[in-house]
């Protein structure tokens, strides 16, 4: 299936960068858990084993042809949706959510799988020759493909992951050839939803949008579609807000005003910022983080592992890790421009987008740039199945890189 000539196209930079991030992750997990357990904790060993398993799966996946994935995309998508439905009935979670299947030694998070299944089916749809993307109405099908799993994940509920589903879409649409102007117009309903909480601002916004649409060169039907969608989403927004769970609303409110919620939701944010800020230039040193050691930092080895890194290795360490993630994504995007197969390119862009968006949001949370989402930092956070799935997706990217000359 793969000849030696293709093996030269193996993207060593991408693979090594991934490995470095995983190793840094294991080191940070050791730091985050040693104080609690004394000595090396079992979590480090487990993460190490999962990384090893990840490399094996990654290697195996490289040998799967992109055409096979292309062909199986609808099947993956259907299975993913079924799993997302099933998890709503038999799933477990930390505080009453239904996010995982409990499979004894491991937990399977179907939303992780659905993320990639959705990328495949989107790539498949956008790669079709007859797919057109020159009018807003053409967004309907891609949006529907994304919205179905998004809403199912939202039901679990898992607001953070569902947002990733939505954010994967724009880079793929852009890659598929949608004009940037249309992508920006897509933002109008989103902005409308956020701004709807202030009547005056919202009316001004709608008026400005109406004027912009009026002077634009879109079809009248499209103008109307965009306008109506924006208005409807805006009016729907307070209603949706009221239907959020209490803790979800608190997360947003605490993000806007951490001090007010400093004992509950805001606590994590404040402590994370203290941990990161107190790391200064070079950090407090490996295993020396006081925020971490004295348990002020919550979710140290999972959602807030970046804060541990920042506290112990400072700005220097953080800049290196962010650089590694950026390099990983740039490397994938470069690959996307090199592969000849349109489905493969779109898949790579989707995987790169999902990885980048999740990483940026997780880091943004620790820095107080985003409300708390309860998401892990891919490759770095503790979590076996998440690590395995992420490494598998990189295996797919690497495999497509090997076949970059194939149509």
């Amino acid at each position: 299936m793969i000849d030696r000539r293709q093996l030269r196209d193996f993207d060593v930079g991408l693979f090594v960068t991934m490995l470095i991030i995983v190793i840094i992750g294991v080191v940070m997990i050791h730091s985050a858990t040693h104080a609690a357990d004394g000595g090396a904790s079992s979590l480090v060993k487990r993460q190490f084993l999962w990384a090893g398993l990840g490399i094996i799966v990654l290697t195996v996946v490289m040998f799967i042809s992109q055409d096979t994935i292309d062909a199986l995309a609808p099947f993956f998508y259907a299975v993913a949706l079924l799993l997302l439905i099933a998890v709503l009935f038999v799933g477990v979670g930390k505080t009453g959510e239904r996010r995982w299947f409990d499979l004894g030694p491991m937990r399977l998070q179907p939303s992780e799988l659905a993320k990639y299944a959705t990328i495949f089916i989107l790539a498949k749809y956008l790669a079709r020759k007859k797919t057109r993307l020159d009018r807003p109405i053409h967004l309907a099908i891609p949006l529907a493909i994304v919205l179905v799993p998004t809403l199912l994940v939202l039901r679990e509920p898992d607001l953070g992951t569902s947002i990733i589903f939505l954010l994967m879409l724009p880079p793929m649409l852009y890659w598929a050839g949608m004009r940037p102007v249309l992508l920006l117009i897509m933002l109008a309903p989103v902005v409308s939803m956020i701004i709807a909480f202030n009547w005056v601002a919202w009316l001004v916004f709608v008026a400005v949008l109406a004027w912009l649409l009026y002077v634009s060169r879109l079809f009248v039907a499209d103008k109307l579609l965009v306008f109506v969608t924006t208005v409807v989403m805006g009016r729907l927004s307070p209603f949706l807000w009221n239907h959020l769970k209490d803790y979800q609303r608190h997360r947003v409110l605490a993000f806007l005003n951490p001090e007010k919620y400093r004992f509950s939701t805001g606590y994590q944010l404040i402590q994370s910022k203290i941990a990161i800020g107190s790391g200064s230039v070079f950090g407090k040193g490996f295993l020396q983080g006081t925020q971490k050691n004295f348990a002020f930092l919550p979710e140290q080895h999972t959602d807030f592992i970046f804060s541990v890194l920042a506290e112990e290795f400072g700005f220097a360490g953080c800049a290196i890790v962010i650089g590694l993630y950026l390099y990983l994504v740039i490397r994938m995007l470069r690959l996307a421009s090199q592969v000849r197969n349109r489905f493969a390119a779109l898949t790579i862009v989707g995987i790169a987008g999902a990885l980048f968006v999740q990483s940026a949001i997780n880091i943004g949370v620790t820095l107080g740039l985003s409300p708390v989402t309860g998401m892990t930092l891919p490759l770095l956070s503790y979590g076996g199945s998440s690590l395995l799935v992420t490494m598998t997706s990189i295996g797919i990217v690497l495999g497509m890189g090997l076949r970059r000359m194939e149509y």
Partner: protein, 638 residues
């Protein structure tokens, strides 16, 4: 076979898209790194302090207040251990569950608990007390739910305890939480809200001695508030316990005085060692129980205390003024001897009344004393003798001697609130009633210690000290010495002379001889003050009281040949001084000198009304009319 096939976009288009997406990723990363730089590079110091705040917690170590002891080292006030439930600063807390649980366990209002939690959260240093002086039941409940109550601690604190409740409380004083006014003046001395300070008595006067210095400890604590190990870098401070006060009070004498006083409505006993000014007894009854005040007192209870008939908070010994009554005759006679207007040979006939102008002034003994010389005048307290002596002296001269004897000036006791008393000089009468609108006849009343002349029991005792010392009156003081917690003496009160009574040696020896006779002679009015084995000297008195029953006075010293104690007794509404006040002085003297009564005495019953002013006899002050307190115009004449 490719299902979707080759990308229709040209290689340049794809490169462009890749670059745009990469640029977007770079932009996002720049934002993140920018934020990191802001937090870590620019605000790094700020957050480093915050993180230190987080895991280092300061604890105040309250200095135990110094002990208060009597002159023999008996402990009068110490500190007891009190368990209180406190809240330490804690950042991680599910507010609601902790406050709900706490309010349930301790049966407190949840809003109050929540408020205290909020208060505790804002603190870097020290704890917030939720339940002061918690019961063992409450403590047990807290310990039981320890793991669910992070940051909730049980702390041992020292609370003031007065071992003999109300005993000597007007001298010792009591403590309470600092109030706003005190905070305003004492803030620079390092006092803060909720600190305990002395409110009255020695507790107040020697606040800075008793207080000690609070210590501070810094500990490394984890997020649930467990103290892990001491933090080295903190500004720790060793705690220094307050110094102990050794008072001049004598516990036995004080107790005897208060027991005796408690048989009456109210009154005061002041006993002083004449050679030093050391106050041996400072009793004022009724008295509040300071332990109840310290342990927290409701507004109603406080109002009851301040507003009650008996005025228990009033320190009668130094704050209340009374007409001196017959003891003032000692000064009148001294003035007479000094001016030559009285001598040892002249005799006066007492018929039971004395005419002055159109008014008749009566002697307390209606049938009269017969022929009275100066000695008999003092010993039997013959009013008529003093009427004529007062008339000779005149208001100005008599009041001048009253001032020289010390009435109207502060004695300088080391307790706040001392009153001056009042000396009604001619200019005083002019000021009050208008020039010439008052009768010269007032001097007759003043000569026997009635009228507007006012003294405190402390003044009465001090003046007797002056008589005993042949002049010098030493500043009365309640502090004997200051010791450290471990007993090392670091300061001793010195004897200072406030003023001297300017009588001649002969005058003093006459007064003293007369005072001995008052108690020891068969015709004396103060026989009930006798103490077996020693000679007691004294002077009885009955102060007119326009508001009710007369006040009983007795001033005394003992032993007569080597005076070690001066006692002034005032019993409000007591009636006759000889019957009521004199025995109290005797009891105090016995208690101080350690003299046991040989057998149960029947003194009270022997020779009842015959020679002393018993309760139902008309008393020694001698104005005919009922409204006799107003000397300015003649009442009923004959």
């Amino acid at each position: 076979m490719p299902l979707t096939g080759r990308d229709t976009a040209t290689i340049d288009e794809r490169r462009l898209r890749s670059r745009v997406l990469r640029l977007a990723a770079v932009v996002v990363c720049v934002i993140i790194v920018g934020r990191l730089g802001w937090l870590q590079l620019i605000r790094g110091e700020f957050y480093r302090n915050l993180s230190e705040d987080n895991y280092v917690q300061g604890f105040e170590v309250r200095a135990p207040r110094g002990l208060i002891l009597d002159r023999h080292g008996e402990i009068l006030a110490d500190n007891r251990a009190s368990l209180s439930v406190t809240l330490s600063r804690l950042k991680r807390r599910d507010d609601l569950s902790v406050s709900v649980l706490l309010s349930e366990l301790l049966e407190l209002d949840q809003a109050l608990v929540a408020e205290k939690l909020e208060e505790a959260a804002g603190r870097f240093y020290g704890n917030v007390v939720l339940v002061p002086d918690a019961t063992f039941e409450q403590i047990a409940k807290i310990e039981e739910h320890r793991s669910e109550l992070p940051g909730v601690k049980v702390e041992v604190t020292a609370v003031r305890r007065y071992l003999y409740d109300s005993l000597a409380t007007h001298g010792i004083g009591y403590v309470g939480e600092v109030n706003d006014a005190e905070l305003a003046s004492m803030g620079p001395l390092g006092y803060a809200a909720r600190d305990v300070v002395g409110k009255t008595g020695a507790e107040q006067r020697y606040e800075l001695v008793l207080r000690g210095r609070d210590g501070a400890e810094y500990w490394v604590c984890d997020a649930v508030g467990r103290e892990l190990y001491p933090f080295e870098g903190g500004p720790s401070r060793e705690v220094r316990p307050g110094h102990s006060l050794v008072l001049t009070l004598d516990l036995n004498a004080q107790r005897a005085a208060e027991e005796a006083l408690s048989r009456h409505d109210g009154g005061s006993v002041v006993a002083i060692e004449p050679s030093t000014g050391e106050i041996l007894v400072l009793a004022s009854m009724p008295a509040p129980n300071p332990n109840e005040i310290v342990d927290g007192i409701t507004t109603e209870e406080w109002d009851a205390l301040t507003g009650s008939e008996g005025h228990p908070l009033l320190n009668r010994s130094i704050q209340a003024t009374y007409p001196p009554g017959s003891p003032f005759k000692l000064i009148t006679v001294g003035a007479g001897l000094e001016t030559g207007l009285a001598n040892h040979y002249e005799k006066v006939t007492c018929t039971g009344a004395h005419k002055y102008g159109i008014r008749t002034f009566r002697c307390w003994k209606r049938e009269g004393h017969g022929v009275v010389d100066i000695m008999k005048g003092v010993v039997e307290s013959c009013d008529v003798y003093f009427y004529q002596l007062g008339a000779r002296l005149g208001v100005a001269q008599l009041m001048d001697w009253a001032e020289r004897a010390g009435i109207g000036r502060r004695m300088g006791i080391d307790i706040a609130g001392e009153a001056r008393g009042n000396v009604p000089t001619p200019s005083w009468y002019d000021r009050i009633y208008g020039a010439r609108r008052w009768s010269r006849g007032v001097v007759l009343n003043l000569a026997i210690g009635q009228g507007e002349l006012l003294v405190t029991p402390l003044q009465a005792a001090c003046i007797v000290c002056g008589i005993v010392n042949d002049g010098p009156v030493h500043a009365p003081h309640i502090l004997k010495r200051v010791e450290t917690y471990s007993g090392r003496v670091i300061g001793t009160a010195r004897t200072t002379t406030t003023y001297e009574i300017p009588f001649s040696r002969n005058t003093f020896s006459f007064i003293k001889e007369a005072m001995v006779n008052v108690v020891e002679a068969s015709n004396g009015t103060g026989k009930l003050a006798r103490v077996p084995g020693i000679e007691v000297a004294g002077k009885t008195g009955t102060a007119q009281n326009p508001h009710g029953e007369d006040h009983a006075w007795f001033v005394s010293y003992a032993p007569a040949d080597d005076p070690q104690i001066v006692v002034a007794v005032l019993v409000e509404h007591g009636g006759g001084g000889g019957a009521i006040a004199a025995p109290i002085a005797g009891e105090v003297i016995r208690a101080y000198l350690g003299i046991e009564l040989p057998e149960p005495v029947a003194v009270v019953h022997e020779e009842p009304a015959e020679e002393s002013e018993t309760g139902d006899s008309p008393d020694e002050f001698g104005v005919v009319t009922d409204e006799s307190a107003e000397p300015e115009d003649g009442g009923a004449d004959e």
